[in-house]
């Protein structure tokens, strides 16, 4: 180069520099609700030591975090909390769905458990496993760093470009939902006069308000 830069001075694209800084200083928000959270704690502790990858500063305030790690099953009552915390995190931010339950509901295919958080918040990385090995979480952090280095600009324009995800749609309930045990159907729950329960129970709620 003709400029003749002095020693220890580098020229770089500002975006690239910002991404380099972001990727190597992830501040995770541990959203741990179940046994995956124990593995998450192990990753934070000395044996696996996520500090080697610059992501050891677990903050319990969403205002100070840029990586949400959802570790464990999310139930109906927890999902509005999860969405609220996600909205409270400042941009740029990323999300790791850790384990089978957070990614798909896992074995908990029941009325109260959300079948995958990616139905309701954006997810950057999925970790399989029940629970995943700590090494898998470390690999996920490395993969996410790679993703951050490749994407992301200083102005955060790529976040505006990401549009509505093509989320999985609600499947029709399979016939196994029906109780087929022998018995007397005459005393089954029936509608009686004055009963105004509707078959679809919850009305659609608005987005949580963030203050």
């Amino acid at each position: 180069m003709a400029l003749g830069l002095p020693e220890n001075v580098f020229l770089a694209n500002l975006d690239k520099l910002a991404n380099w800084v972001r990727a190597n200083s992830l501040w995770p928000m541990p959203f741990a609700t179940a046994c995956c959270g124990i593995e998450l704690m192990a990753v934070g502790a000395s044996r696996y030591d996520i500090a080697r990858f610059g992501a050891e500063v677990m903050r319990f305030s969403p205002r100070q975090c840029d990586l949400m790690i959802v570790a464990g099953r999310i139930v109906m009552k927890m999902l509005p909390v999860l969405q609220r915390i996600w909205l409270q995190m400042p941009e740029p931010k990323w999300c790791i769905s850790m384990g089978a339950c957070a990614s798909s509901g896992g074995v908990f295919d029941t009325y109260a458990v959300v079948q995958g958080i990616d139905r309701f918040i954006p997810v950057d990385l999925y970790i399989p496993g029940c629970p995943p090995r700590p090494e898998q979480l470390i690999q996920a952090v490395l993969d996410l760093q790679e993703k951050i280095r490749k994407t992301g600009t200083l102005a955060g324009r790529e976040f505006q470009q990401r549009t509505q995800p093509n989320i999985p749609q609600l499947l029709p309930a399979p016939p196994s939902d029906r109780i087929v045990a022998p018995g007397d159907y005459t005393t089954a729950t029936q509608r009686w006069p004055g009963d105004d329960r509707s078959s679809s129970s919850c009305s659609r709620r608005p987005l949580p308000q963030v203050n």
């Binding site: 509005p80 909205l87 029941t110 309701f120 989320i167 045990a181 005393t187």
Partner: protein, 168 residues
Amino acid sequence: MIPYEQIIGHLRQLPGCNDIQYSSFRDNHRLVVPKDCIYTVLQRLKDDFNFDMLIDITAVDYLHYPDARHRFGVVYCLLNTQTGQRLIVKTNLDEPDLQLPSAFSLWKAADWLEREVYDMFGIVFEGHPDLRRILMPETFTDYPLRKDYPLRGRGERHDFPVISRAES
């Protein structure tokens, strides 16, 4: 310590309570009480026989149960902390009259236990000071532990707004 047979004998003399059924297996003593005199029986057991601790209230849905005659059974587990005697009191309910008198005035422990039974089975406890759902969200309208409620629910678990990258 008053023997169980003597307790049952006293209870059967109460008005309207003469058809209380009693059975026991090992140290498990069980009463089946008609719905109309459940509060009187619980009150006598607490005041006269010193069953001063309410361990649990729960319910059973007997829909599709072989040879069941009633839809719901509500079960009270009582303990006498002086003598260690335990007693299980059960009463049966059928639709559409799913109402029972609240035991809150006898044992304060009945507060959350009755709210849970109301939440899961839709059994209404009259006289309860604050009968709201305790586990399910307040907007939930079904009763999930009833046998005719599907295991995967009726879509409530997916009834939330979707936050995309663009709007978060």
